[in-house]
C-alpha cells in the first residue's frame, strides 16, 4: 500500500515542497525513514509511532518505509511528524489516500497532540501557491492564516487532523489574529527634551536612513533608538509574512505583527549570530531578523572591526548570502541601522559637565574605529548631549503616533517616486534638477571643508527626506541647510 502527502522545507525564506511518500509492505516490525533526514527528522519514527497509538489505533506491524523527496534537499527539524503520521495512516488504509492533497506541518508529542512548528507560515505559503488547504497546529494557525489566499485548518491533535482529513469533522476556522500593531511599544512621548535627536529620528524614519548617535553615557541614545520602530510605517501584510518567515527560519516564533522588528545584538555577538550562519544549514542572523525593522548597534566602538566590515555589503544590498558546505542561502536583510557610541572610551568627551579622562593615544585608537567605510553608510549623524534637568521635568512631548503619521506620508511620496531616500544612489539623485541656490550652498560647504564628496550625497539624500516631510516637490536651500546640520562628525 502506498500514499503520499506534502510538507514544506525552508531554503532561506523560500518555501520548497517536500513530498512525503509512505509505503507499507510485508508484515514485519520495521520503520525506515529515507531522504536525507537529520537527527530530529529521524526521531520522528518514535514520535509518530507513539502518537498513532495514542489515537487509539494499533501501529501496523509491517515493513514501513517513508521517503522524503526530493532526496537531495536537506530536511531538518520535527515539523514532518504530522505529515509522516498522516502518510502512514493513509498507506495502512485508515485514511483515503485521495484525501491527502494538502500541506501539513507540525511536531507530534507522544500523546498525539500537535505542537507549533517553525515552518507553519512556509506551509501556508506553499499551500496557497498550490491552491491546497493547509493543516497546522492551533497555535500557528493565526499566523499562517495571514498568508494571502491560504485555507488554514487548525488542529490540536493527530486525532483531530485525521478527522478533518477524513471529512468526518468540519475544519475549524483559524483564530482571529491579534492586534496589528503592538501597543506596548515604547512611546516617543516618554522622551523629554532631546529635540535634536527627536528630529533626527523622525528624518531617519521618514527616509529609512541609517543613523549614528554619538554622545556621553546617559544621553538617552539607546532609549531613543528603541523608539524608532514605533514611528516607522507599519509593515504591509506581505512584509509581515516575509519577516515572520525569517524569524521562523531562525527557529524563533514571532507573533504576527505589523510592528517593524527591533534587534539589538550585543557587541560580543559572533559574526554568525549577526550576519547569519551555522552549519550545515545557515540560519538568518540578527541583521535578517531586523529585516524591515531596526538593528541597533549599541556601543558601536566595542564591535570588532571585522564584524562591522562584514555588515557593509548586506546593508548596501539589503540581503545577505551565506555560503556553507551544506547549502548556500540568501536571506533578506534590509534593516535600518541605528548605531550609538560614546564619543571616547571614558565617554565624556564634549560633555558639558564631566571632563574627559582619555589619553590622546586611546582617543586616537577609538576615533579610528569609529570612522572608515562602514560609517560612510550613515546618512544622519548627530551628537546627543546629556539632557539638562529642567528639560527632564518639561512638558510631555509629541507621541509616536503623531510622528508616524508624518513619516508615513513622507514614505508614500518616496514609494511613488520609486525608492526610499536612504537607498538613493548618486545617479538617482542626479535625476532631479538642482537649483542654483542649492548648488551654491553645497559648493560652499565643500570649499569650507565642511563636507567631503561622499558627504554631498549623504546631505542630498537627507535633504530629499526633509523636503518630503513637508511635502515639497523640490529640494530647496533650506532643506539642504538642515541636512548639513545632521552631517555630524565623529
Amino acid at each position: 500500500m502506498f500514499a503520499q502527502t506534502i510538507s514544506v522545507a525552508m531554503v532561506g525564506v523560500e518555501a520548497r515542497p517536500v513530498r512525503i511518500e509512505a509505503h507499507v509492505g510485508k508484515p514485519k516490525d520495521i520503520f525506515t525513514l529515507v531522504g536525507l533526514p537529520d537527527t530530529a527528522v529521524r526521531e520522528a519514527k518514535d514520535r509518530v509511532r507513539a502518537a498513532i497509538v495514542s489515537t487509539g489505533r494499533e501501529f501496523p506491524h509491517r515493513r514501513i518505509t517513508v521517503n522524503l523527496s526530493p532526496a537531495d534537499l536537506p530536511k531538518a527539524g520535527s515539523d514532518y511528524d504530522l505529515p509522516i503520521a498522516l502518510g502512514v495512516l493513509a498507506a495502512t488504509g485508515h485514511l483515503p489516500g485521495s484525501a491527502l492533497r494538502l500541506v501539513s506541518a507540525g511536531e507530534l508529542s507522544l500523546d498525539g497532540s500537535v505542537r507549533r512548528s517553525r515552518t507553519a507560515i512556509g506551509a501556508a505559503l506553499l499551500a496557497s501557491r498550490r491552491g491546497l488547504p493547509c493543516i497546522v497546529a492551533e497555535g500557528d494557525a493565526a499566523n499562517a492564516a495571514r498568508v494571502r489566499g491560504a485555507r488554514v485548518y487548525p488542529v490540536t491533535s493527530l486525532a483531530e487532523a485525521v478527522a478533518v482529513v477524513a471529512g468526518t469533522q468540519t475544519p475549524r476556522e483559524p483564530p482571529q489574529p491579534g492586534a496589528d500593531v503592538e501597543s506596548s511599544i515604547e512611546d516617543m512621548s516618554e522622551v523629554r527634551g532631546q529635540p535634536l535627536a527627536r528630529r533626527a529620528l523622525e528624518v531617519a524614519a521618514a527616509g529609512s536612513h541609517h543613523l549614528l548617535m554619538v554622545g556621553p553615557p546617559g544621553a538617552g541614545k539607546t532609549m531613543l533608538a528603541r523608539r524608532l520602530p514605533g514611528i516607522l510605517p507599519p509593515l504591509t501584510p506581505e512584509e509581515a509574512v516575509e519577516v515572520a518567515c525569517l524569524w521562523s527560519a531562525a527557529d524563533r516564533i514571532r507573533s504576527f505583527s505589523a510592528s517593524p522588528p527591533f534587534r539589538a545584538p550585543h557587541h560580543s555577538a559572533s559574526a554568525a549570530a549577526v550576519i547569519g550562519g551555522g552549519h550545515p544549514h545557515p540560519h538568518p542572523g540578527e541583521i535578517s531578523l531586523a529585516h524591515r525593522g531596526v538593528l541597533l548597534l549599541d556601543e558601536l566602538g566595542e564591535f570588532p572591526p571585522y564584524l562591522l566590515n562584514a555588515l557593509r555589503q548586506p546593508l548596501e544590498e539589503g540581503q545577505v548570502t551565506i555560503a556553507r558546505r551544506g547549502s548556500t542561502v540568501t536571506f533578506p536583510a534590509a534593516a535600518q541601522v541605528v548605531a550609538a557610541s560614546n564619543p571616547c572610551p571614558c565617554g565624556f568627551r564634549g560633555d558639558r559637565v564631566h571632563p574627559c579622562r582619555c589619553t590622546m593615544s586611546a582617543l586616537d585608537r577609538y576615533q579610528r574605529r569609529l570612522s572608515g567605510p562602514f560609517l560612510d553608510r550613515f546618512d544622519l549623524r548627530i551628537f546627543a548631549s546629556s539632557p539638562v534637568a529642567d528639560s527632564l521635568l518639561g512638558p510631555v512631548a509629541e507621541d509616536s503616533e503623531s510622528i508616524r503619521q508624518r513619516v508615513v506620508a513622507a514614505r508614500q511620496i518616496q514609494l511613488e517616486r520609486g525608492a526610499v531616500n536612504g537607498r538613493l544612489t548618486r545617479a538617482q539623485l542626479d535625476r532631479e534638477p538642482v537649483g542654483l541656490e542649492v548648488r551654491s550652498l553645497l559648493a560652499r560647504a565643500v570649499d569650507n571643508g565642511v563636507l567631503t564628496g561622499r558627504g554631498v550625497d549623504r546631505v542630498r539624500r537627507v535633504a530629499r527626506t526633509v523636503a518630503d516631510l513637508v511635502g515639497s516637490e523640490e529640494v530647496a536651500e533650506v532643506h539642504i541647510a538642515e541636512a548639513l546640520a545632521f552631517r555630524g562628525e565623529v
Binding site: 527634551g193 532631546q194 529635540p195 535634536l196 535627536a197 527627536r198 528630529r199 554622545g215 564619543p343 568627551r349 564634549g350 558639558r352 548627530i382 551628537f383 546627543a384 548631549s385 539632557p387 539638562v388 528639560s391 518639561g394 542654483l436 541656490e437 551654491s440 550652498l441 559648493a443 560652499r444 560647504a445 570649499d447 569650507n448 565642511v450 526633509v466 516631510l469 513637508v470 533650506v478 532643506h479 541647510a481 538642515e482 548639513l484 546640520a485 545632521f486 562628525e489
Partner: protein
C-alpha cells in the same frame, strides 16, 4: 532678471567719481553702501592669492561688502574668499554685463549673485573685454569703496592705477607688504613707502576698517542673541520655530564663518 541684467543709476554711490556714468547695468543686488575694494595683479603669486582669499573672507565675514573685478588672479581670489563665507561681494566688469571673462570665473559670478551680491558694468551688453577698458573700470571699483586694499601689484599695472584713482577720489589706500625682491610686491611696497597703510593680517585690516568706516553692519542670520556656546538641544528647545528651520539657520551661519557646529554645540565665532 536675465543675463542682460537691469539698467540702474548708481550716481549716488559714485559721488566721488568725477566722470561717473549716468547708467550702469547690474545683475544681482545693488550695493547698500560703500564697500572695501580688494584689488591686485592678474598674474599673482600663490602668496598673493592666499592673502587675497583670506582678506576677502575676513572682510565679508565681518559683514562688509567686498568690491573687486572678476579678472584672474587677485580679483577672483578675493571674491572666492567672499563666497566661501557667504558674504556679499560685487564684481565690476570691464566688459558687457553678459560677457563674463575669463570663462573660468563664470561660476564664481553665479555664486556672488546667489550669495546676495552682484555684477556691475558701465558698458552695454555685448561689449567684449579689452585691455584699455580696465583702467576705466577701476575708477568705479574705487568709487564704490571706502578703502582700497592692494594685495599684490607690480610697479606698472592696473592695481596701482586703481590706487591712484582712489587717492584722487579721497579714498583710503591700504597695501599688503611683500618681499622686496619680488616684482609683484614692488608696487605695494612702493605704496607703503608713500604713505599707504600696511595690512599686517586679516584682523589688522578689520581693525583699520573699523577705524575708517565705523562698526560693520551685522548680518541678519538666526544666530543673533545666542550665547557664545550652546547645545543644539538648548537652542531648539528655546524656540517655538520648527527645529528644521533653526538647524538650517545654524548650518548657514557656520558656512558664513559665524560659528561652528561641533559635538552637538553651536559656538559663535567672536567678532
Amino acid at each position: 532678471m536675465n543675463e542682460l541684467g537691469q539698467v540702474v543709476n548708481l550716481e549716488g554711490l559714485l559721488r566721488s567719481v568725477p566722470d561717473r556714468p549716468g547708467a550702469m547695468w547690474a545683475r544681482g543686488t545693488l550695493p547698500s553702501g560703500p564697500g572695501v575694494a580688494i584689488v591686485g595683479t592678474r598674474r599673482c603669486t600663490a602668496y598673493g592669492r592666499a592673502v587675497a582669499t583670506a582678506l576677502g573672507r575676513a572682510v565679508a565675514a565681518s559683514g562688509r561688502l567686498v568690491v573687486s573685478g572678476l579678472a584672474r588672479g587677485i580679483d577672483a581670489a578675493a571674491h572666492r574668499g567672499t563666497v566661501e563665507v557667504a558674504g556679499i561681494g560685487y564684481a565690476v566688469l570691464g566688459s558687457g554685463i553678459d560677457v563674463l571673462y575669463p570663462p573660468e570665473n563664470r561660476e564664481l559670478a553665479d555664486r556672488l549673485i546667489c550669495a546676495g551680491g552682484g555684477l556691475l558694468s558701465e558698458y552695454p551688453p555685448g561689449t567684449p573685454p579689452a585691455a584699455f577698458r580696465f583702467p576705466a573700470r577701476n575708477r568705479i571699483i574705487a568709487g564704490l569703496s571706502a578703502a582700497v586694499v592692494v594685495v599684490e601689484a607690480p610697479v606698472a599695472g592696473g592695481a596701482l592705477i586703481t590706487a591712484r584713482l582712489a587717492l584722487e577720489q579721497g579714498k583710503e589706500v591700504l597695501a599688503v607688504p611683500g618681499d622686496i625682491d619680488r616684482p609683484t610686491s614692488m608696487g605695494c611696497n612702493l605704496l607703503i613707502r608713500d604713505g599707504a597703510h600696511p595690512v599686517l593680517s586679516p584682523s589688522d585690516l578689520l581693525e583699520t576698517l573699523e577705524f575708517l568706516m565705523g562698526p560693520a553692519p551685522r548680518g541678519g542670520s538666526g544666530t543673533a542673541g545666542l550665547p557664545e556656546t550652546a547645545t543644539l538641544d538648548d537652542i531648539l528647545a528655546g524656540s517655538e520655530r520648527p527645529p528644521g528651520e533653526i538647524l538650517a539657520d545654524l548650518a548657514r551661519a557656520e558656512l558664513a564663518g559665524k560659528g561652528t557646529l561641533e559635538r552637538g554645540q553651536f559656538s559663535r565665532r567672536p567678532g
